[in-house]
Symmetry: C2
Amino acid sequence: MKAAIGVNGYGTIGKRVAEAVRSMPDMELKGIVKYTPDYTVITASRQGIPVYVPEGKEGLFEEVGVRPAGTIEELLKSVNLVVDASPGGKGALNKPTYAKWGVKAVFEGGEKPDVAEVSFSTLCNYNEGLDKRYIRVVSCNTTGLLRLICLLDRHIGVKRVRAVIVRRASDPKEDKGIVNTIKLDPPAIPSHHALDVKTVLPNLDIESVALIAPTTLMHVHIVYVRLKRESNLNEVIELLSSIPRIALIEASRMGLDSTGKIVELARDLGRKRYDIYENIVWRDMVKVDGEDLTIVQAVHQEAIVIPENIDAIRASLGLASNAEESMELTDRFLNIGLLR
Amino acid sequence: MKAAIGVNGYGTIGKRVAEAVRSMPDMELKGIVKYTPDYTVITASRQGIPVYVPEGKEGLFEEVGVRPAGTIEELLKSVNLVVDASPGGKGALNKPTYAKWGVKAVFEGGEKPDVAEVSFSTLCNYNEGLDKRYIRVVSCNTTGLLRLICLLDRHIGVKRVRAVIVRRASDPKEDKGIVNTIKLDPPAIPSHHALDVKTVLPNLDIESVALIAPTTLMHVHIVYVRLKRESNLNEVIELLSSIPRIALIEASRMGLDSTGKIVELARDLGRKRYDIYENIVWRDMVKVDGEDLTIVQAVHQEAIVIPENIDAIRASLGLASNAEESMELTDRFLNIGLLR
């Protein structure tokens, strides 16, 4: 029997999680919750996704031609787990309602860590998520960092990480963002990213510096890793190539030396909305010097956390007993593995 | 008697060097060389700067109302030293002409290192420039890095440097640059910046990664330094505060957390063209952890090399016997020292 899933909030993350749930063989999307009748109600409805709304707001949705499937409470009564994709900080406010209806919940990285029993990243701590009522999937930059760090740590050992994060200014649909400037975000060391990594790996020696650049497409990370032993380029490349969620691309030979070109590749591959679930690691930008490793990667902020959300659902509901089993399903049914 | 200086080329660097030479008490600007009669001929002429032109082109300049002071050869005959501020790579082609007229020359960082006897950065190797016929002043990013590195090395000792350089896409006047993308520049490690630093400090363990962001104002550097001994925040802040060419600013308290705001400060201070000669080091972004130092700074690509050009002139002509003597004059007469 498929697990019954609801998605509360249908913005950047919610709409992607909803679609991903629908493509999984072990999950059924019971519906999503929308609070305002904007264009995404239409796109949800056209895909046949049941739209649940706050009680008393049904009329507003009927005005734009969408008949709600029911109220939020009715959705919650019918699901095993809800993915809370509401704006950052609102998830915590929704939690009592989930508790009231006895529904498990997956929260996003915009919530404070204490919203959940565990902050989650599949490659790092899938097992800690097993059977938990409340799981928090860390944010996009943290997910991008943790995939690298935990893969390296498991196979080689990671002693220390220094990361520079060049963030995108806003998502394409957000209109407003910095223009012609580079901004410290925040004007302090470490940025919250190192702290967020520590919600998953509390003992890691990590520091991060974050800037914002005036662009909307992807984040770029420069990651300096001190390994626990000497390694070499072949070993690192082989390791990074070993999981579909990390895509190694050649900047020079393939002409993919910018985030703009990576997005064009995803568009040409027919990826919906050009969603890129993979860490894009430039093979030309991996350097190993004994214990010192430098990696430069790009991260699609809108899409990268989707696989981990699906894995978090599986962990919470015990649908897969370990990370490998869940990742195999998630990656296969999301067609993860750019250029594979 | 003042040293007689010519400037060959009147673009981004040439016009700033020319003005800086005019403000120095020990130098006289004999004139600049212009190849095309564009608007900068007018701005030069309005400042009373003699404009020299290629033989046979006098008429083109007279058409825009500027009577040339003479030909390139006539300028070269009248100077002790010429600053070659022609487009990158052209300096090497001009060198035989300088040799023919027995004129010393200062070249810019766009030339290959072998154009000169020494690649130059005041705080690192002023003495190596003393009495040299040909000196190359390293480029803007390299100058910004070397000021930090050599100051730290002289007083604390530098074991190793890892630098991330987030470059501006183009200068304000250049119109064309990347838009809404982040580009590897180049798609390889190290970028040329580490190599250029090594033209001055050949034995330094340094690696650099460079990206371009879609902005025109300033470069931003994230510099990780391994010191030769343990230090602390007070010592490092005191050291960085000790020279006017490094300006420490507080991002949070002063509201200066972006390159845009730093440029606004320079505009409000009445800096011509908002030229910023100083490394702008964010005090909030200096972190010391034993031997490990992290520094984030902004560098105004159009202006930062001007002080070093003036010092290079002094070194070549023996106008000052050491770096401190030259820097004192340069900094005083350029009013260097933002917010001092």
